[in-house]
């Protein structure tokens, strides 16, 4: 080919025609694929993504959370007895799916790890077209998935995550948390334990060495010290430790008269069991009975701790023994479906799925911009936690917190704990900028 005959004008003309020709098909295809927002459902169904740990140390809690989600999908689609759909005040859900579309779901194993959670959520968003992702049992995975969903223009409804950071410094406009947090645990529990054990106490903290553990320790130390307790020692232990004996033996001679175990899951079960084995509860220190406190209880792992749980005070987001009509309805549906009472992990998952679906119905769209608006400052009741506010400033739910106590005389294997006190939401309120962070803009495009 001879390029010497090509002048500037001819080159520009040819290039323009060629460019227009190449662009033509993409104009048509992009027009046909135009989406108002990421993963906009076009058929008769809409897909929810459930990212829960099915393996790893929180595998059982993840599995129970997934049961909660599955039950929620059934109820949203009008199957079963409807569960808390019948008691949900503030609901416009009709039991015919969401916005007339049948709810389907995909699930993935997050392993309670940040990277695995991101990978499985990404797959659900990109491959399966999930309109919303929900689920977690660790704060690390919740924060990571929340950030991913925000970047992808997807709504994230957090599962079980208790660190202050999830709706604190790491909050996102696309992320919402129904579960309570470490600060709330501290504020709810401190007055109860000070009342039960006295104001003149010295506490020894043994804490899981990761984001949630630090958050929990800081919160309970702050709350108890403000009521007169002293902190004798703060010791960090690696996450996933099985034998705590080397950290427990110094407790007895530390001058402390309370041991606070800032652990969760298997770690909580092991640390608590071993603390009791070391005779700490039989001891006297500073002229008082030695006490053990577990600020954040895992109801499923409390079963693993067995008799060691008896009489131990801690907090919980929700418990199946509550007597309100929402809880009763949920326990009935869940128990009949699975043969055991639901855990707080299952409850928060179920509620988050309903809250998201209801927000879509109220907004009349799946577009995250409408959904976020519908969820912010939404007030509701009848979902087992009493009157609740989804605060717009940080996307954190404010509702009652339970102080629970290990049952002295259990009647059966599910009868591990009792509700000791229901703490009103006003007692655990805080400013929405307490831990910094910015919600940022709503994102709705992939």
């Amino acid at each position: 080919m001879n390029f010497r005959n090509v002048d500037r004008r001819r080159f520009l003309k040819t290039t323009a025609i060629a460019g227009a020709g190449l662009a033509m098909p993409t104009i048509f295809t992009s027009a046909s694929r135009a989406q108002e927002f990421c993963n906009m459902p076009t058929g008769g169904s809409v897909t929810f993504g459930f990212s829960v740990p099915l393996s790893g140390p929180y595998g059982d809690e993840g599995a129970d959370q997934l049961r909660g989600y599955e039950l929620a999908v059934q109820h949203l689609n009008g199957e079963g007895d409807g569960g808390m759909l019948n008691t949900f005040k503030g609901s416009v859900l009709k039991g015919n799916g969401v916005l007339g579309k049948k709810v389907e779901f995909v699930s993935g194993d997050s392993q309670a790890l940040a990277d695995a959670g991101r990978a499985t959520s990404n797959r659900m968003i990109e491959r399966d077209g999930a309109i919303m992702v929900t689920g977690s049992v660790s704060s690390a995975e919740a924060i990571a998935v929340q950030s991913l969903c925000s970047d992808k223009g997807i709504i994230y409804m957090a599962g079980l995550t208790h660190s202050n950071d999830t709706t604190g410094k790491d909050k996102r406009r696309n992320g919402f948390r129904h579960f309570f947090n470490a600060y709330m645990s501290g504020q709810a529990l401190a007055p109860v334990i000070v009342d039960a054990y006295g104001a003149d106490r010295r506490a020894y903290h043994i804490t899981a060495d990761y984001n949630w553990g630090w958050s929990q320790e800081e919160s309970i130390v702050e709350a108890t010290e403000s009521l007169g307790w002293e902190t004798a020692e703060r010791v960090l232990t690696p996450l996933g430790t099985s034998d705590y004996s080397q950290w427990l033996t110094p407790v007895a001679n530390s001058g402390a008269d309370v041991l606070v175990l800032n652990h969760y899951g298997n770690d909580m079960a092991n640390a608590l069991t071993q603390a009791v084995q070391f005779g700490l509860r039989e001891r006297q220190a500073n002229g008082k009975n030695f006490e053990i406190v577990v600020p954040m209880f895992s109801d499923l792992n409390a079963q693993a701790a067995g008799d060691a749980v008896k009489d131990i005070l801690g907090t919980a987001n929700w418990m199946w023994k509550l007597e309100d009509e929402g809880t009763q309805a949920f326990v009935r549906s869940f128990g009949q479906a699975y043969g055991h009472p639901p855990s707080q992990s299952a409850h928060t998952g179920y509620v988050q799925a309903l809250l998201y679906a209801n927000a879509c119905e109220r907004a009349g769209t799946f577009n995250p911009e409408g959904v976020v608006e519908a969820l912010e400052d939404f007030e509701f009741d009848g979902l087992g936690d009493g009157p609740t506010l989804y605060r717009g400033g940080d996307h954190q739910c404010f509702k009652q917190v339970l102080v629970v106590k290990g049952n002295e005389d259990p009647e059966d294997r599910f009868d591990i704990q009792d509700v000791f006190q229901v703490v009103d939401s006003e007692q655990i309120l805080y400013e929405d900028d307490k831990w910094g962070g910015e919600l940022g803009p709503i994102r709705s495009q992939c």
Binding site: S245, T249, T273, P341
Partner: protein
């Protein structure tokens, strides 16, 4: 004084656990020359023998009481343990002493698993490199732990020590010390059992003809073979013994840490550190290093120490390993020529 006794006891206790697993690892390495990364899984399976035995003796008959309802509205299930129903007081004894009695289940089970592992997989890798052995046995460990997880779930399952020894012993009364020193009975029993098992294995190797042949085989397998002794068969027996030691250690450990599928992995890496510090292939070295590292770890975890050196408790074993290997490259009691090219 009391803190010293408590930390020392705790160190011995941890050391006992390390030494028991390291003993089995060293036995297998010293005889078969195999670096067995599945050894921790054997410890975990032993712990689950206690779970299985405990569940067997707690098997319940379920009757439905139509007059009482469960919280979800179905007729209430009333559960009664079968052995207590059938055997009365003896049934209660079986339930309460399920952990020590589980050893009777663990011994044949671990022998069988050990034999199947050695014959079915590990013998095919005798002449392979250590890297290949590590890969295949690590893979086996993951398979075993996933099987256990699929069967028993991911959460820890509580197993209880007999009620008579579930509390703590007040050592101050026994030792005539003024202040109160409590130490869990079962941990003391565990320590005693660890010393007994270690003593029995060493005595078996040291004072029996069978053990003498095994020791000779460890030194020079070829010459023992020339004498017409099937040393390979005896080494297979050693693998079985190592599996039983790990399994029994797991059973006895189950009331201390509720068994979970990850238990073996928790101990495996630490036990390899113990073996390396003790000297590859040296049984007395493994035992000595096990107790030494247990005690060092215990004292390093004291708040007074971690205040000065934060997180030292989490790395102290590796720091000690580095120091030992820099000063004694073969470990504390390592033999010349083992793992030296």
């Amino acid at each position: 004084m009391d803190w010293l006794i408590l930390q020392f006891l705790n160190g011995l206790d941890k050391g006992g656990a390390y030494a028991l697993i390291a003993l089995g690892l060293t036995l297998v390495f010293g005889t078969l020359g195999v670096v067995n990364f599945a050894h921790g899984a054997l410890f975990m399976i032993g712990a689950f023998c206690a779970v299985v035995f405990s569940r067997l003796v707690r098997l319940e008959t379920v009757t439905v009481d139509p007059e009482r309802l469960s919280p979800w509205g179905t007729p209430l299930e009333v559960r009664t343990p079968v052995v207590e129903l059938w055997l009365g007081d003896f049934g209660t004894f079986l339930v309460q002493y399920s952990v020590p009695l589980a050893i009777l289940l663990a011994i044949p089970v671990m022998l069988l698993i050990g034999w199947a592992m050695e014959r079915g997989l590990i013998r095919h890798f005798y002449k392979r490199t250590h890297a290949e052995q590590i890969l295949v046995t690590f893979g086996l460990a993951i398979v075993l732990q996933e099987i256990v997880k699929a069967s028993f779930g991911a959460n820890a399952i509580p197993v209880y020590a007999p009620p008579a020894v579930s509390s703590s012993l007040n050592l101050s009364a026994s030792l005539g010390i003024g202040t109160d020193i409590f130490y869990p009975w079962w941990r003391l029993i565990y320590l005693g059992s660890a010393l007994l098992i270690i003593g029995l294995v060493i005595a078996f190797l040291q004072f029996t003809t069978y053990g003498m042949v095994i020791r000779a085989g460890m030194e020079d397998r070829q010459t023992v073979g020339f004498l017409g002794i099937n040393i390979q068969k005896r080494f297979t027996v050693v693998f079985g013994i190592a599996a039983v030691v790990a399994g029994v250690a797991g059973v006895l450990y189950s009331p201390i840490v509720s068994p979970n599928y990850h238990l073996g992995m928790d101990f495996l890496v630490l036990s390899f550190v113990v073996v390396v510090v003790g000297g590859m292939g040296s049984i007395p070295g493994a035992v000595l290093a096990g107790f030494l590292l247990g005690i060092v770890e215990s004292f390093a975890s004291m708040a007074a120490v971690t205040r000065v050196l934060p997180a030292i408790d989490q790395v102290i074993l590796y720091v000690v390993a580095i120091i030992v290997l820099l000063t004694l490259p073969r470990g504390l009691m390592g033999r010349k020529g083992v793992m030296e090219g």
